[in-house]
């Protein structure tokens, strides 16, 4: 699905994508007066997510993936760029009413189950809040709606969990409450920011399966943010690789993982622990340099200092995202 600049993407059914962003940029200003620096956390990111699709956003810390989620959820005001949800543009300075509308459509699941629930409020309270603030359910039906939601995230028997407090729940249970809370708003898009990275390994799969089941049954669009390549491959239809605040590669999961084109994707692939890699003593893993300093990005490709295939052109101009497959694009001089 190629999106034409200036127009929302059109699918065959003629409906708009669940989410579309164009040129999304977020800069932060840090430092004291006289010594201010600009952190370019997100630079000109454009992508779209179809209805019912799962897109994984993969990157290491500092890649901009969390900033992306926060910008789309409007927890931070983007410096530049446009956001379209279901084809509707979100104004640069939305009114309170418009913002509430946006929030109802776009929900978020947070990374740390130990701090994403208010410790002073019960499970019922946390899950019921969206119902109340978006006026989705009359007061007398609230409890029933919460029970229904807890059921859907497998916190059963739901009545037992209604009035428990977060400190009485395990990490996995807390995260389920977080999912129930996100679902309560009946959103069309969920941004899941590393929802399993702080959970025990044996629970991660259960949580990922839960998200997939819920996503399928409700035709939700899901943006799954992670640094874990295996999880990304498991969860998603498409994968986008981010580095230094930009998308470096994006395409169907099997293509991006099976035949990674961008040197950074290849590096990630080789670095990921994989039992199949066991005893590959021959392959020396060379990872030169450190992740980029977002306040002093060099001109040209941000990965150039660490790239084994670097050419002089790489340091001069930033390559564009180029088509290398039907739905697969890469930002690299090698494919210009």
């Amino acid at each position: 699905m190629v999106s034409t600049p200036g127009l929302p993407a059109e699918t065959n059914e003629g409906s708009s994508p669940a989410l579309e962003v164009r040129g999304l940029t977020k800069n932060y200003s840090v430092g004291r007066i006289g010594r201010k620096k600009v952190v370019r956390a997100l630079s000109e990111v454009s992508l779209s997510v179809e209805k019912g699709e799962v897109l994984s956003l993969v990157g290491e810390s500092g890649s901009g993936k969390t900033t992306f989620a926060r910008a789309v959820a409007f927890l931070e005001r983007p410096t530049e760029g446009e956001i379209f949800v279901g084809g509707r543009a979100l104004p640069r300075r939305p009114s309170r009413h418009r913002l509430r509308d946006h929030r109802r459509q776009v929900q978020m699941i947070f990374q740390d189950p130990y701090s994403s629930l208010d410790p002073l409020h019960s499970v019922h309270y946390s899950v019921a809040r969206p119902l109340r603030s978006f006026g989705l359910v009359p007061r007398h039906a609230e409890r029933e709606a919460v029970v229904e939601l807890l059921d859907q995230v497998d916190l059963v028997p739901a009545e037992d969990f209604l009035f428990r407090y977060p400190y009485e729940l395990s990490g996995g249970q807390r995260q389920r409450v977080g999912i129930a809370r996100a679902l309560a708003a009946q959103p069309s898009l969920i941004l899941a920011d590393e929802p399993t990275s702080m959970l025990d390994v044996s629970i991660r799969l259960t949580m990922m399966n839960l998200l997939l089941d819920l996503q399928r049954s409700r035709s939700l669009s899901l943006v799954f943010i992670t640094h874990d390549l295996g999880a990304a491959y498991y969860m998603s239809d498409r994968i986008a690789i981010m580095y230094a605040g930009r998308i470096q590669e994006i395409g169907p999961a099997s293509e991006v993982m099976g035949e990674p084109k961008h040197p950074y994707t290849q590096l990630l692939r080789r670095a990921a622990p994989s039992p199949e890699n066991e005893r590959q003593q021959g392959t020396q893993f060379e990872a030169r340099g450190d992740p980029p300093d977002l306040t002093e990005l060099p001109p040209g490709c941000p990965f150039a200092p660490r790239c084994p295939f670097v050419k002089s052109r790489c340091r001069e101009t930033l390559p564009e995202l180029r088509q290398v497959g039907a739905a697969h694009r890469v930002r690299c001089v090698l494919y210009d």
Partner: protein, 277 residues
Amino acid sequence: MNWRALRHNRRAVAGALIFALFCLVALLAPVIVPYSPSDINFTPLLHPSASHLLGTTENGEDILSQLIWGARASLFVGLVSGVLISLVQLVLGVFAGYVGGGFDMMAVAVTNVFLVLPSIPLLIILAAYLQGGGLVMLIAVITITGWAWGAKVLRSQAVALRERPFVQAARVSGESRSHIVFAHVVPNMLGIMVSNFFGAALYAILAEAGLEFIGLGNINDITWGTMLYWAQQGSAILLGAWVWLLAPGFCVALLGTSLGLLNFAVDEIANPRLRRD
């Protein structure tokens, strides 16, 4: 807030009992006072005796009656100032810290100005300028000089809470700003806010007594501070009228201590790391 811990904490219990005692005395003052506190018909400078348990002043007033009556003023000034200061801190500290942006910048600027001004000289200057105003004037002056430090502390706490995931989740859940402040931010910093309140009340009581002692209050009011003023004017030390001088001072100190004890306890309860299990 952990109520059970409150009961078991000896300092809290001690502080609460003393404070409750003063409150009781202040409330029942018209009933329990042996004589009218402003009655000047008694023999002056009597030593403590059966009819005048704490003796009399140079003007012929019963000290015990004055002491009992003085509790009302101190508690009134202490509690009202405490509440007013807390309100200002709520707006210019907690709310500003959470909301950020222009309002916060303005609040920080104002807070910094008041922090830089030395409070005691300012207190004295303001009281002198508004001389003879009595308790209400004192409350105003105390509030103006006493809010800044706590506001700074509360603001930092609010800023830290603003970044916590559960607060951001509340925003994503569509909750309004004021709801988030009162349902999520304030409850999670309640310990420090209550502690600030006690600190403010303590400051108020001491400031009131101090200002009245140097004659900047309404010297015709009957408060512990004015008792000290008159005792000083009447050269109580030279005349050996110890009780007249020490009794009001002791009461100020005791009431202040009870607030301090309550403050310690709140600290321990709100900050689990300070608890002595």
